[in-house]
Symmetry: C3
């Protein structure tokens, strides 16, 4: 088994099914867009293993606790790994994470976005290790996110030649 998949298995991580959106929603773009040697990852939210959006929903610091939102960020990492797996065929094609933009649906005055997005970064570093998994990052507070998801994350990755 290739290294990355052995790691995912050893960590007991489960990659979810393709995103299942609420009825009537049309998203006319791919979850991952490969251009040249880069993979551009669309904004993902937390998913259940069956692909449906994973709650709780609402603003972190009011409706959702930091600990729960960190778990949402972790689920978002798994959703992104699943999308990359489907688009790339193999996660082994990733030669390096470039940047991660972590958006937290934030109640007024909430300022602990980095703790929340650490739930994402920890999965990436666990799976890819410190060299390939290393990423530039921002973790900031959004006024609102689609469908009331507590966390949305987009990313850019470098692919092997």
């Amino acid at each position: 088994m290739p290294r990355i998949y052995a790691k995912i298995a050893a960590l007991g991580l489960v990659l979810p099914e393709p995103p299942v959106l609420p009825p009537g929603v049309d998203l006319p773009f791919p979850w991952v867009n490969v251009r040249g040697d880069k993979a551009f990852v669309s904004g993902h939210g937390p998913q259940e293993p069956d692909g449906s959006l994973s709650g709780p929903f609402g603003q972190v610091g009011k409706d959702v606790s930091v600990e729960t939102a960190k778990l949402s960020a972790r689920k978002t990492a798994l959703a992104i790994l699943a999308s990359l797996q489907r688009e790339l065929g193999s996660l082994e094609r990733i030669s390096g994470w470039c940047s991660v933009f972590g958006m937290v649906n934030s109640a007024p005055g909430f300022d602990r976005q980095p703790e929340v997005i650490n739930g994402f970064s920890e999965v990436i570093l666990d799976v890819f290790g410190p060299e390939v998994g290393k990423h530039a990052r921002s973790a900031v507070g959004l006024a609102a996110l689609p469908f009331g998801i507590p966390v949305e994350i987009e990313a850019e990755l470098l692919l092997a030649g």
Copy 2:
């Protein structure tokens, strides 16, 4: 007539004049910045054909309806195409859209950002087609945008060698 321009003409789209900013505003950066084989597009808002900012202004979900904001996103697409045309000389130089970051000036609780930004994506796909026009995307809720514009969009594109 090159394919892209034939498409723009057939769709009846009008690319606006260069952005005309409110008096006293200094924006010390280009609307499009080409580096290597990439074009980086600065955040644009909706424009009138004469280049002036196009209203209505304010927060979507309170001051501006979803339908109207979707039209603002459509106007933003035309503004970006006009900037790309001016900087690149020809839209034919674009070999692929990489990523789009769609920002919606959102009232508290507004969570239909994807519907709004679809107004942008639909123009890009209509003009460039599904392969060149394909883009990764996020559509999220900002607390505030410059000059009270309802939508602001930035993007990254790949240019032909």
Copy 3:
């Protein structure tokens, strides 16, 4: 003395020490991530010369004035130059700024984000000049930023071959 450093000295700019974070904060990512010929800069806030976060804190348009926030954006530019210097070894390796994403912690109704982020752009243009320093930019209003910083900025740069 190389050109860039002569410029920094002539302008009297002081690059701060590495970021010193509040106790208990874990940020599992680098401030600058080099991948291929690109440098991806993580979101930075304003720093004091000793590396500590620089106040005032809070929302621009309520707790912090435009003029003060512009100074925060200027300090953020110096913090990013310091991080680039540490990661790259020399700022002379930068062949061009690609894009800058300027985030302003914005009170409801505040819409003068471009004036604030001009404090950043002016430093970059002063130090690197109009060709290398040229950057695409967005300047937008976030609902909240980590630790209550008034400004956070991330960027992408092209490095010389």
